[in-house]
Symmetry: C2
């Protein structure tokens, strides 16, 4: 399959295949990219559940578990995610909740990804100190998740 890759200034990769697809039909590459970014989100969610349980006093504070989850979260958030966001994978495709604005507002989208990376790195630095430190640094992480979802994820409703 003939492909051209463009790395934009925004860190988003645009992959154009040499084939035109009928509406609703997506290539295996697009499917794989969607699966990968959804897996990425699942790992955010898994580690956020551990951290959020402690930050919101639903589970006892455990410094080692908090550190592990926060380090994991920071590792994922700092990954290069450019290969996920391929053309033709917005919410017009079944299984995608990605708004088309991800591509049309790519600068802002990249900023929101960077905000999560920054907030989760800051959380990882202090999550093992004590519960107050965890609570203080958890807020900006949750806030950056929410800001991006609000702007770029199609609502459940």
């Amino acid at each position: 399959m003939k492909k051209r890759h463009f790395a934009t200034s925004l860190g988003l990769a645009v992959i154009l295949t040499g084939t035109a697809f009928a509406a609703g039909h997506i290539s295996e590459d697009v499917t794989k990219a969607m699966e990968a970014r959804q897996a990425h989100m699942t790992l955010y969610s898994f580690n956020m559940a551990t951290l959020g349980g402690m930050a919101q006093d639903r589970t006892p504070y455990d410094a080692a578990a908090a550190t592990a989850a926060a380090n994991n979260l920071a590792a994922i958030a700092n990954m290069d995610q450019s290969a996920y966001w391929v053309e033709g994978s917005d919410s017009s495709v079944e299984g995608s909740r990605a708004k088309a604005e991800i591509w049309s507002n790519a600068d802002d989208y990249a900023e929101k990804i960077a905000a999560l990376a920054s907030a989760s790195t800051a959380l990882a630095a202090v999550a093992g100190n004590d519960l107050d430190a965890l609570k203080g640094a958890f807020g900006p992480v949750g806030g950056s998740c929410a800001a991006c979802h609000r702007a770029y994820r199609v609502s459940d409703n």
Copy 2:
């Protein structure tokens, strides 16, 4: 829900809930742990596809893409995976292909996880140099995937 966490010497976490489940019934915690480790594997696969395509001469070598994929792979492989491997999530449960030997041979399992982390860190260090460097370091990564699957994943057949 009452839980007790034991961090074993092998880096595996054993989570016992206070409830006994009927065969086939699994808790939400176990489901979440299985989803997370399968997401983790999806991200291995996604990045390995990029690297393998180049290492096996199916796609042109691209230093930036190779570096991004190898860095991602190393980031994932070096994550703390202890929270994934909860009791009651072996292949007796629907959707799991995890052999019970993961828990009974936990030392060896931990070694196999460490081997992938080590091989993928080594790959990340050289993947952007040139294709020969990528090919040389890719083999041990693929080998460590295969060794662990052979020992600890139920076969498709």
